[in-house]
Symmetry: C2
Subunit: 208 residues, 2 copies
């Protein structure tokens, strides 16, 4: 496969890949633009958003490294910068003195909230599609994300998949909500299962 070679770009998958690449460029660009206004780097913005939205137990150097897809050293660098700007604070975890917990300061909190719309321009572009296309697009992109996640290319925090309380396909005859959340004890629509969940608890690792 050579998605970048226009002469070989006859396959649908190749063309889609290039389109996704371009969207990725636009997303980077959006972060960089916002970056300039706020005097925060793209990595710092993403770190703040992570700390605001992910479960507390993930608020560590390692958690951030996973989320950003970088090494521990880089994660530590980013936190250094944010700590310097008094947006984040480090503290050892009482239970395990090796792990450093990260907390947003009040200013950090405010800053993070202000940044949650970084991708508005993307969302606007998406929103301009007809509803039917949006439904299809949601389904397809989420399927891609799932694949990429299992290939180790992204870390998706807080999805129901992988949650201890998630019962996959517990209602096979309910197309509206085929899954089940044992925490809320309620049927779960497909679309909900890919969102960050406040009640998420990691499932036990399967044993061979």
């Amino acid at each position: 496969m050579k998605a970048f070679d226009p002469k070989q770009r006859h396959t649908t998958s190749g063309q889609i890949t290039i389109a996704l690449y371009r969207i990725a460029q636009a997303i980077e660009y959006a972060f960089r633009q916002r970056s300039k206004e706020v005097h925060l780097s793209p990595a710092q913005i993403q770190a703040l958003l992570f700390l605001k939205n992910a479960r507390t137990h993930a608020h560590t150097i390692t958690g951030l490294a996973n989320r950003l897809g970088v090494t521990l050293a880089t994660s530590s660098d980013v936190v250094d910068a944010l700590e310097h700007k008094r947006l984040v604070e480090r503290a050892p975890l009482p239970d395990d003195q090796r792990v450093v917990t990260l907390t947003l300061t009040p200013q950090g909190e405010r800053q993070a909230e202000e940044l949650e719309n970084v991708l508005d321009e993307i969302e606007i572009a998406v929103d301009s599609l007809p509803d039917a296309e949006k439904t299809a697009l949601l389904h397809a992109t989420q399927a891609i994300v799932r694949r990429l996640q299992s290939a180790g290319y992204v870390r998706v925090y807080e999805m129901c998949w992988g949650c201890q309380f998630f019962r996959r396909n517990a209602h096979p005859d309910n197309p509206q909500a085929p899954h089940h959340c044992a925490f809320m004890d309620a049927p779960l629509p497909e679309a909900d299962t890919y969102r960050e969940c406040p009640d998420f608890v990691p499932a036990e690792i399967e044993r061979g």
Copy 2:
């Protein structure tokens, strides 16, 4: 809009935006991984791919800057690095001594070719979708790219749209190929119009 706030992530557009964000992360990750193997930075890889696949007249510092979505200074930096590695050469354009043309050295050419599959992992994920979904996905992502392009978030080189030879919707009754290419004098399927075209010539700028 606050696509990053899970509590507000009830809209389809918001969820799609997050999925696209995650795919973007995976794409960056793919570049970074490859980066390590090849001793080339992600920006350098993209520059090589640009030089291999874009029209020659775009092979300048400015052309690269537009393509990467960075400033001229950054574009110059990247070329410095590539020149150092003997993958690219600078030369003044005879017609206009201000502009610097960029050419791949033979090694640069080889290197670029080797890199064209950087996004294989993404393409594999895309390819795992059923055909019907792929068609829908192609359509939707290209529509998004077009929007983002007109908002100035990405620069797409070499598409028929904006080409001097492109006749939009010249065959409204031919759903298979509604457009027309005046260079090839042939009907043009929608899908073809978003590809890099070897015969692309920029259209005249419209006058108010």
